[in-house]
C-alpha cells in the first residue's frame, strides 16, 4: 500500500517493516502459510479501490441517503411495531459518547460506568413494569416474546402457547420462528386465540376452550397490536394460572405511566419493546426487547440473557456491578445454556436508562395522558370524515384502526394520496387482517399537534372524496 490509510496507523512502510523485521520475515505473505494454495481466492477482491478522502466518502453516502424521505420532514402516522416519539437531545448526547459507543462489553474493573448505566436500565424498567428481576435487553420485542415463551415451556415442561390472533404479524413471525418445528425437539405449538369483533380484544370464550393442561403460556399484549387495552387481562391471567400456565404479558413501556403495570394483573413474565424509550426509528434498527419477572429463582434460572447485579467490592463501602447467572448463558454453557445470547442492543439500554431518568414518574404520567388524549382526539376527528369510521372508537392507547371500506377506496389508494401531501398514512392492515376490510392502523403520539391532525383530516377528506 503506497499511501497510508487514515484508519490504519500501521499502514506505513515504517511500521510494517519494523514489525516484519522483529519477526524475521521479508514478505507478509509468509504469514499465511497455514492456508493451502487451493483455498486461496481465485480472483482479487471484487471491490473498487478504497477512497481515503473522507469528503468523498461522505458525499457519496449522503447523495444516496438524500434520496430518502423521512418522518422528520413528513407527517407520520405509522406505528405498528416501531413508534415515533420525541427523543430528548440528552439521549442522543449520551448515546453518542465515544466511551459508550465503541467498546465491547468489558469487566467490572474496566467499565464500571457502563455497567452502572445498565443496572440503572434494569432498575428503572423494573419500576415501570413492576418487576424486580430484569435482564439486559434482547434484540426486539419479538425476540423477547419468543424467549419468554421458551422460558415458560421449560418452566412448565409443556409445549403449547396461546397468542392473540390480533398479534403484530411481524412479531408473530418471530415468535413462530423461536417456537421451532414440530419435527425437532422442544418445539412449541402456537395456538391463535380469536378476538371479539365488537371490542377488538381477546375473546375470553375462545381462550377458555383453548387453554388446557398442555398450555405452557398465554401470551397477551395490552394495549394490543390494534391499540386496544385488554381490560380483561386480570381474568386471562387468572385463567392461565388455574391451568398451571404462565402468563406472559407484552407491553410498550411508554404506556405505563397511565396503565397499571402487568405485575398488578397477574403477569409472570413481562416482555416488551425498548424502542419508544429514547431510541430513534432508525428504519427499524432501533428496536429492542426486554424480559422481566419477579426475582424468584425459578424464573431467574430460565433467563437466556446476561444481567448485571450490584455487588460489593473488596474495599468496604464501595459497590461494583457484575454479571449474575452468567453460567446459564450460552457463553457459559454453550448448547446447554438457555437459548442463546450475544451482541444485542446494549447501547440502547444506556439510552433507555437516560430516557427513563429524564422522564421520571411525572414524565411517564404526562406522556401517557398526552398520547391517550391526542390519539383519542385524532380518532374523533377522523371519525368525523364522511365514509370513514374508527373501528373501535374508545379504549385504545396510541394506535387505532381506521376503516375506509365505506369510502370505496383502498388503504393503498388513500395512502398514495396522502403521500403526495407529505403524510405517511397509517399502516395498511388489509393484507394481514382481511376481516377488518380496508383498515389502517394509525399511530398518534405526543409529537403530534392540533395542526398535524387538521392537516391529516383535510388530506384524508380530500383523499376519500377526490
Amino acid at each position: 500500500m503506497a499511501l497510508a490509510h487514515p484508519y490504519m496507523p500501521n499502514s506505513t512502510p515504517a511500521a510494517k517493516s519494523a514489525m516484519m523485521q522483529a519477526i524475521g520475515i521479508s514478505d507478509i505473505d509468509e504469514l499465511f502459510e497455514q492456508i493451502p494454495a487451493d483455498h486461496r481466492a481465485t480472483e482479487p477482491i471484487a471491490l473498487d479501490p478504497g477512497i481515503r478522502a473522507e469528503a468523498t466518502v461522505r458525499r457519496q453516502v449522503r447523495r444516496l441517503l438524500d434520496r430518502n424521505d423521512s418522518c422528520a420532514e413528513n407527517l407520520n402516522f405509522l406505528g405498528a411495531g416501531c413508534w415515533q416519539h420525541h427523543v430528548p437531545a440528552v439521549c442522543d448526547e449520551i448515546g453518542s459518547r465515544s466511551e459508550f459507543l465503541t467498546p465491547v462489553w468489558g469487566t467490572p474493573s474496566s467499565d464500571h460506568g457502563r455497567n452502572q448505566a445498565w443496572y440503572e436500565f434494569a432498575s428503572q424498567l423494573g419500576e415501570l413494569v413492576g418487576m424486580d428481576f430484569v435482564g439486559l435487553p434482547v434484540y426486539s420485542w419479538g425476540a423477547a416474546a419468543g424467549h419468554a415463551v421458551r422460558m415458560a415451556a421449560r418452566l412448565t415442561g409443556r409445549h403449547e402457547v396461546l397468542v392473540p390472533d390480533t398479534l403484530d404479524p411481524e412479531r408473530l413471525a418471530v415468535i413462530r420462528t423461536y417456537c421451532g418445528r414440530t419435527e425437532l425437539d422442544g418445539a412449541i405449538t402456537v395456538v391463535l386465540v380469536g378476538h371479539d369483533p365488537a371490542t377488538g380484544r381477546l375473546d375470553l370464550a375462545d381462550l377458555r376452550t383453548k387453554l388446557t393442561s398442555a398450555t405452557a403460556a398465554v401470551y397477551l399484549e395490552s394495549p394490543n397490536y390494534l391499540g386496544l387495552i385488554e381490560v380483561d387481562a386480570p381474568a386471562v391471567a387468572a385463567k392461565a394460572r388455574e391451568h398451571g400456565a404462565e402468563t406472559v404479558v407484552g407491553v410498550d413501556p411508554i404506556s405505563l405511566g397511565v396503565l397499571a403495570p402487568p405485575s398488578e394483573y397477574g403477569a409472570d413474565i413481562v416482555v416488551g419493546t425498548t424502542q419508544p424509550l429514547g431510541v430513534h426509528l432508525n428504519a427499524g434498527g432501533g428496536v429492542g426487547g426486554f424480559i422481566a419477572t419477579r426475582d424468584e429463582e425459578r424464573y431467574a434460572r430460565q433467563y437466556p440473557t446476561l444481567q448485571v447485579s450490584m455487588a460489593d467490592t473488596i474495599v468496604p463501602g464501595e459497590r461494583a456491578f457484575g454479571m449474575t447467572l452468567f453460567h446459564q448463558s450460552s457463553y457459559g454453557s454453550r448448547e446447554d445454556g438457555n437459548d442463546w445470547t450475544g451482541n444485542s442492543v446494549y447501547l440502547w439500554a444506556v439510552v433507555n436508562a437516560v430516557y427513563m431518568a429524564l422522564m421520571g414518574p411525572q414524565g411517564f404520567a404526562d406522556i401517557g395522558e398526552t398520547i391517550l388524549r391526542n390519539s383519542a382526539y385524532a380518532a374523533r376527528r377522523i371519525a368525523g370524515i364522511p365514509g370513514i369510521r374508527v373501528r373501535w372508537p374508545s379504549g385504545f392507547f396510541k394506535e387505532f384502526v381506521v376503516d375506509l371500506t365505506a369510502t370505496g377506496r383502498t388503504v393503498a389508494q388513500v395512502n398514495a394520496f396522502l403521500r403526495e401531501a407529505g403524510i405517511f398514512g397509517g399502516k395498511d392492515l388489509s393484507g394481514d387482517f382481511p376481516d377488518l376490510g380496508q383498515a389502517a392502523l394509525y399511530c398518534v403520539t405526543e409529537i403530534h399537534t392540533e395542526d398535524d391532525i387538521t392537516a391529516l383530516v383535510s388530506a384524508l377528506t380530500e383523499a376519500v372524496s377526490a
Binding site: 499502514s11 466518502v57 416501531c82 442522543d92 467499565d111 460506568g113 420462528t177 449474575t324 444485542s344 447501547l347
Partner: protein
C-alpha cells in the same frame, strides 16, 4: 518500546445511582401537553389505570446529563488500549456516525413505502453486492441483530431446507467443534437440533476422521469458524465441507474471524453453503458495548428461498422489499439494524479492495509481532505451542505456568492491567483448552506503539506478580472502584439485578 509506563488513573466520580438522586417535583424532560381540544374526560376504561406511580428518580435535565457523562468517563473501553480478542476492536469512523444520525436514516419508519426509502434500499443492495464479492455467496440479509442471531438464521434455514426435502425429522444433528464460538452450538440447540461437538486434536483442530465418524444421514449441518480464535486454520476444511455435503448436510461458515483472511479466502470457493460476517467487528461498525449489531448472513442461490424476508430486490422501477415466500419468516422484526449497514457500507467504500487486503495483512502481521514479544516474557506460553506455523489474526496464550509459580491468575493480571489504562483483555470462550488463557487481538487499528505499550504493561504486571503478588491479586487500584467481590452474584438471596431487589435484600444497609 519499554520506556517507563505512563501515569494512569480512571476518572472517579463516586457516582450514586440515578435512583438515589434528585428531589420531589424535579423534571428531567417534559412531554408536550395534550392537544387543547382533546378534552379532559378520563379516557381509560375502569380498572386499568396505574395507581402508584413508578418509583423513578426525579432529576433535572442538567443533572441527568451530568450523571451519565460521569458514567461515560468511568467507562474505559476503547478510550484506553483495547486489544480485546475475538472482537476485532476496530476504529469506528466518526463520519459514519454523523451520516447515520441524519434524519434520512434515524427518522425513517420501517413501514414507509419503498419509494420513500430508495437511498437506503440501494445501500442495502450495494452492500449485499460487496459482501457477495468478498464471500462468493449469492445473497445477504441483515436481519440478524448480531453474529449469534446470524448463526440462528442458519439453524432456521437448515430446518427449512431439510423440511422442504421431507428430511427434517431425520436430520437432527448439527456438528460443530469445541473451538467454534458458543453461539453455534447454542443456536443449533435452540432451533431444536442435537449438537455434536468434535474435540480438539493434536493439530489444533479435530481430525477429518473424527468428523467422518459422526457424519451420517442424521446430519443436518456443519457450523464452524475457521480460523478459530487461536489463529489456527483448518487446512482440511474443503474435505470437511465435502464430507458433510456427501452426507446431505449444509455447511455454515461462521466468518466472524474474517479479519485475517479477508481477500484471501472466499466461503463459497471453499464449498460452504452459507456464511456470516459481523459488521460490528470486521466492518468498522461500533460495538456499543454489545449492539445494536449486525450478523450479515449470506448463502448460495440454492438456499436463497429459505432466507428470512423481506428481501431487497432491484427492479426496473427501483428497489423493492418483497416477502420470501418459502423463507423462514422472521428471526427479528424488520430489515435489521440498517444504520449499522449504512456505516459498514461507508467503511467499506473508504477501505476498498486495497484497504481490506492491507487490513488483513496488518492484523496478521501485528498478531505475529505480538506473539513474538509476548512469548519472550517468562511465564507466557501459547496453546498448541508445538505447531510452528504462523498464527493468523489471534493467538491464544496461557498463563498456566505463571499461575502455578505465583498464584496470580489471568483474571488478576487482567484486573491489574486496567490500572494502566489497558482495557480488560479477553480470556477465552468456553471450553478453555489451556489454563489461564488470554487472547489479545491487535487488528489493524492499533499503532505498533500501542501494541508495544500493551505488551510492556503485561510484562510489568507479570513482574509485579512475582515480586508482590498481593498487589496484583487485589487489583485494580487506579480504577473507578476496587475489585468486585463476586460472592453474591450467583446467590439468589443476594443477587440484585434491580435497585428494588437490592433494597429489599439489603434493607438494613439503606441508602448511602
Amino acid at each position: 518500546m519499554s520506556g517507563p509506563l505512563r501515569r494512569y488513573h480512571a476518572a472517579v466520580w463516586d457516582e450514586p445511582l440515578i435512583m438515589e438522586q434528585g428531589g420531589p417535583g424535579r423534571r428531567g424532560t417534559v412531554p408536550p401537553a395534550p392537544i387543547e381540544g382533546a378534552g379532559i374526560d378520563d379516557l381509560l376504561p375502569p380498572g386499568v389505570r396505574r395507581r402508584t406511580p413508578p418509583a423513578l428518580p426525579e432529576v433535572a435535565e442538567p443533572d441527568v446529563l451530568r450523571h451519565y457523562l460521569h458514567l461515560s468517563q468511568q467507562t474505559m473501553g476503547m478510550v484506553g488500549i483495547s486489544l480485546f480478542g475475538t472482537c476485532t476492536m476496530k476504529y469506528n469512523p466518526r463520519v459514519n456516525e454523523l451520516l447515520a444520525a441524519r434524519d434520512q436514516v434515524a427518522e425513517i419508519h420501517p413501514h414507509q413505502d419503498d419509494a420513500s426509502i430508495q437511498g437506503l434500499l440501494e445501500i442495502v443492495h450495494r452492500f449485499d453486492l460487496m459482501l457477495r464479492g468478498l464471500s462468493g455467496m449469492d445473497r445477504f440479509v441483515f436481519q440478524a441483530g448480531g453474529g449469534a442471531a446470524a448463526a440462528y438464521i442458519h439453524a432456521c434455514v437448515t430446518r427449512a431446507y431439510h423440511e422442504s426435502r421431507g428430511e427434517l425429522a431425520q436430520r437432527r444433528d448439527i456438528i460443530t467443534t469445541a473451538q467454534a464460538h458458543p453461539c453455534n452450538p447454542a443456536t443449533a440447540a435452540a432451533a431444536g437440533f442435537n449438537v455434536i461437538t468434535l474435540p480438539m486434536e493434536a493439530d489444533g483442530y479435530p481430525s477429518l476422521a473424527a468428523l467422518r465418524a459422526v457424519v451420517s444421514d442424521r446430519t443436518a449441518a456443519l457450523m464452524i469458524n475457521n480460523p478459530d480464535d487461536m489463529g489456527i486454520y483448518n487446512p482440511h476444511i474443503k474435505q470437511w465441507v465435502d464430507t458433510v455435503h456427501e452426507a446431505g448436510g449444509l455447511c455454515f461458515y461462521d466468518h466472524a474471524n474474517f479479519n485475517g483472511v479477508m481477500g484471501r479466502v472466499r466461503a463459497a470457493e471453499l464449498g460452504f453453503d452459507a456464511c456470516m460476517f459481523m459488521l460490528h467487528k470486521t466492518f468498522g461498525v461500533p460495538k456499543g458495548g454489545g449492539g445494536p449489531a449486525v450478523g450479515a448472513y449470506g448463502c448460495t442461490a440454492e438456499l436463497e428461498r429459505f432466507l428470512p424476508g423481506p428481501l431487497v430486490h432491484r427492479t426496473e422501477s427501483g428497489y423493492q422489499r418483497r416477502e420470501n415466500e418459502a423463507g423462514v419468516g422472521r428471526v427479528r422484526e424488520f430489515l435489521g439494524n440498517l444504520p449499522q449497514v449504512v456505516k459498514a457500507y461507508s467503511w467499506l467504500l473508504a477501505m476498498g479492495a486495497d484497504g481490506v487486503r492491507e487490513a488483513a495483512d496488518i492484523s496478521v502481521l501485528a498478531n505475529n509481532y505480538m506473539e513474538a514479544r509476548l512469548l519472550a516474557i517468562p511465564g507466557v506460553t501459547k496453546s498448541y505451542d508445538q505447531l510452528t506455523k504462523r498464527r493468523l489474526e489471534m493467538t491464544r496464550f496461557s498463563l498456566g505456568e505463571y499461575t502455578e509459580q505465583t498464584g496470580v491468575t489471568a483474571v488478576d493480571v487482567q484486573n491489574r492491567m486496567t490500572d494502566f489504562g489497558i482495557d480488560a483483555f479477553w480470556l477465552s470462550h468456553e471450553p478453555w483448552i489451556v489454563p489461564e488463557p488470554f487472547t489479545p487481538e491487535a487488528g489493524e487499528a492499533w499503532s505498533v506503539e500501542d501494541i508495544d505499550y500493551w505488551i510492556d504493561v503485561l510484562a510489568h504486571v507479570l513482574a509485579e506478580g512475582r515480586s508482590d503478588p498481593a498487589l496484583v491479586k487485589s487489583a485494580p487500584h487506579n480504577q473507578v472502584v476496587g475489585q468486585i467481590d463476586g460472592s453474591s452474584l450467583d446467590d439468589p438471596a443476594r443477587w440484585a439485578t434491580t435497585w428494588r431487589a437490592y433494597q429489599r435484600k439489603n434493607s438494613a444497609v439503606g441508602a448511602r
